[in-house]
């Protein structure tokens, strides 16, 4: 590891405007984490056009802050109201809300904040050591390796989501198809443009993300808009006692490790990590029957895990250029907009961006720890703003943002159409995540595949015969075996959560 670039990354992270954007990002993240409905992927997508004029490092620092900040915020409503703001905090509601009903909401939130901080920070440290090594390996990758790698990414995101595997495959295929609209990447032949110039450059990634995640989510929530107001229990001081800390410190440690490992896996992400961490805690506990009735480990484990995973899911994006989940796909788009290609070259070509963003996460996690405790009361009050008022305002911001990309009303119609597509997909049981990810990776996958076929002289078996791509193919096959096992664990955990009456948005 090159220490001088790590240190200069700190200098970048602590420039005053970057501190400001970090603060802005984590606050917005916490806020949308509290509000059920709008997830981090949608929020980042909606804010993409605003980041056009920002400096790349500041833009990514802010957007990354939204992502990990949302993990903190989602906890608050899980514990207090049993209404998880984010999918990754569903499992926290089990024991967190039980504690709240025993009048221990304050300590539960305090432990959750500390666990999140430790999980996040541990994950940044591990990232700093592992990312350079991984990028070093990836520098030797050729088109064949990238073909297999992109396939692994799409496959894992598809299978680790919530939908059925076959439907995710269909969604991913549709995303790949949409990515072919525009000029052929190697020959320049127009494809599927239906004769209009509007589609000749292809469809901008921002449009797809804003349509499927932004407008799609708003339309979907419109159908279930009568959310009853719930009374907020008092939570006292969000400071845990010594006993709570002693009980949960090992859970935090285990959760951090679990979260870090699952976060690196494409498609794993924070939701998966929190569920597995909860299962681990229940398995290792002396008296598993306490779980669901207010065991503090059931808060500490998942909370450290979802933050660790949120951080480590940056690794595949920043070192291989393969986004690990839907939010990372949007961040991939954000980097591309700034003219920076995420991948193994990022660390050497733009060390300021890489280490600036990574090191800003230390600061972001610290800000979240300091802010989350005093701001809990304020955020809970924000919940009283009716979703019916927020929705049209969000739509207007999305529309203005869309127009500003190319000063083009056609793009606005495209976003609305993709919004309807996102709504229809969710009604029919398709997840938008694999679609958007496949769209992002589409041109990389196609170009690498076609280049490999030329190099191989049309022989597909070369993918297996070359040592590096062969290894990656083996990993792909291995995941086909491992993933169903992970799904089983998740399904069981989700059923437990549902039995306890918790449903995520």
């Amino acid at each position: 590891m090159d220490f001088s670039s790590v240190l200069s990354g700190f200098a970048v992270a602590f420039e005053w405007q970057n501190i400001l954007f970090c603060l802005l990002g984590v606050t917005v993240g916490m806020l949308i984490g509290v509000l059920p409905g709008l997830g981090p992927a949608a929020t980042i997508a909606i804010l993409l056009p605003i980041t056009y004029n920002l400096e790349p490092t500041a833009a990514v620092i802010m957007l990354a802050g939204i992502f990990y900040g949302a993990q903190y915020g989602g906890t608050i409503t899980s514990v207090l109201l049993k209404l998880p703001g984010e999918a990754s905090t569903v499992v926290t509601a089990l024991d967190g809300h039980a504690l709240a009903r025993q009048g221990q909401a304050g300590p539960a939130l305090g432990i959750a904040a500390i666990a999140s901080f430790i999980g996040g920070t541990a994950s940044i440290i591990l990232l700093s050591f592992i990312a350079p090594a991984l990028a070093g390996v990836a520098l030797a990758f050729g088109p064949a390796e990238y073909t297999v790698l992109a396939l692994i990414g799409i496959f894992l995101v598809g299978t680790l989501g919530n939908g059925s595997i076959i439907k995710s495959a269909a969604a991913a295929a549709a995303g790949l198809l949409l990515a072919t609209v525009g000029l052929d990447p190697l020959l320049g032949t127009p494809r599927f443009t239906f004769g209009t110039d509007q589609l000749a450059d292809g469809i901008d990634f921002t449009i797809v993300a804003m349509g499927l995640f932004g407008v799609g989510e708003i339309l979907y929530n419109l159908e279930h808009r009568d959310r009853p107001q719930t009374a907020v229990p008092s939570f006292g001081r969000a400071i845990p006692g010594r006993l709570h800390w002693l009980k949960s410190r090992l859970a935090i440690l285990r959760g951090s490790v679990t979260g870090f490992i699952l976060g690196i896996l494409p498609g794993g992400g924070a939701t998966m990590a929190s569920l597995v961490a909860y299962a681990v805690e229940k398995r290792t506990a002396k008296d598993p029957s306490r779980f669901g009735k207010g065991a503090i480990e059931g808060v500490a484990g998942p909370e450290s895990a979802n933050n660790a995973a949120a951080t480590s899911s940056f690794i595949p994006l920043l070192t291989l250029g393969i986004p690990a989940n839907a939010t990372m796909a949007v961040l991939f788009g954000a980097l591309m907009l700034q003219g920076i290609t995420p991948g193994p070259g990022l660390m050497t070509d733009h060390p300021d961006v890489f280490w600036g963003v990574v090191n800003s996460m230390y600061l972001g996690n610290l800000l979240l720890l300091v802010l989350s405790i005093p701001l809990i009361g304020l955020f809970v009050r924000m919940l009283k703003v009716r979703p019916g008022i927020l929705a049209p305002i969000t739509v207007v911001i999305t529309m203005i943002g869309t127009y500003s990309i190319r000063n083009n009303a056609f793009d606005m119609l495209l976003v609305i159409g993709l919004g309807l597509l996102g709504y229809g997909m969710r009604k029919l049981g398709f997840e938008p995540g694999p679609f958007v990810l496949a769209f992002v990776l589409g041109s990389l996958l196609e170009a690498s595949f076609r280049r490999s076929m030329r190099i191989f002289g049309g022989d597909v078996s070369e993918f297996v015969q070359r040592p590096v791509s062969g290894t990656l193919v083996a990993i792909l096959v291995l995941t086909v075996v491992v993933v169903p096992l992970l799904r089983k664990v998740r399904t069981r955990q989700t059923e437990n959560a549902e039995q306890a009456g918790v449903t995520a948005d």
């Binding site: 025993q102 295929a173 008022i389 529309m399 009303a409 606005m412 919004g419």
Partner: protein
């Protein structure tokens, strides 16, 4: 201490979406098949080339094949009762109305500028879809438009088409 009996989340039952019927599940598979078929037909119109020398049509053709295959898979799996769709409700009308309203909004943008359509869209959405009061809808519609004007046109210098100039 309160007992640990599972407590139903507040009012979630009435909100929980109902699963769609078998017809809807079959439609979920039919759409990818149809989309894939059309894409395959269009791909043949482009040059397919060969595996050694792939033309512009080869990749879309592969993807179209994947779409058709997964669509058939969905229909096959659905036959064994997989309930992961959501029934369309009366709320669907509101969704379509919202999308239609947005389309009108987008088409007015370049003709009359962003101020009037934005006020109208916000007012219609707040009053008709969110059921806010007349007064609340009117005040919010004008206020949000004014803030958007200040933020995007004056603050961020976004070149939005607008009537009012300073």
């Amino acid at each position: 201490m309160v007992d640990g009996e599972p407590e139903a989340a507040h009012g979630e039952e009435s909100e929980a979406p109902r699963a769609g019927g078998r017809v809807q599940s079959v439609i979920a598979g039919a759409i990818p098949v149809l989309l894939g078929a059309v894409a395959a037909w269009l791909s043949f119109g482009l040059n397919i080339g060969s595996l050694t020398e792939p033309g512009p049509g080869l990749w879309p053709l592969i993807v179209a094949g994947l779409l058709v295959a997964s669509g058939i898979g969905i229909i096959a799996v659905t036959a064994r009762t997989r309930r992961d769709t959501e029934a369309f409700t009366r709320g669907t009308v509101a969704v379509l109305a919202a999308a239609g309203g947005l389309a009108v909004y987008a088409s007015l943008y370049e003709i009359v500028g962003f101020e009037v359509p934005t006020v109208l869209l916000l007012f219609a959405w707040l009053r008709l879809l969110s059921r806010e009061s007349w007064l609340m809808s009117a005040i919010l519609a004008v206020a949000v438009t004014a803030v958007a004007y200040a933020l995007f046109i004056i603050g961020l210098n976004v070149p939005l088409p607008h009537l009012i100039a300073f």
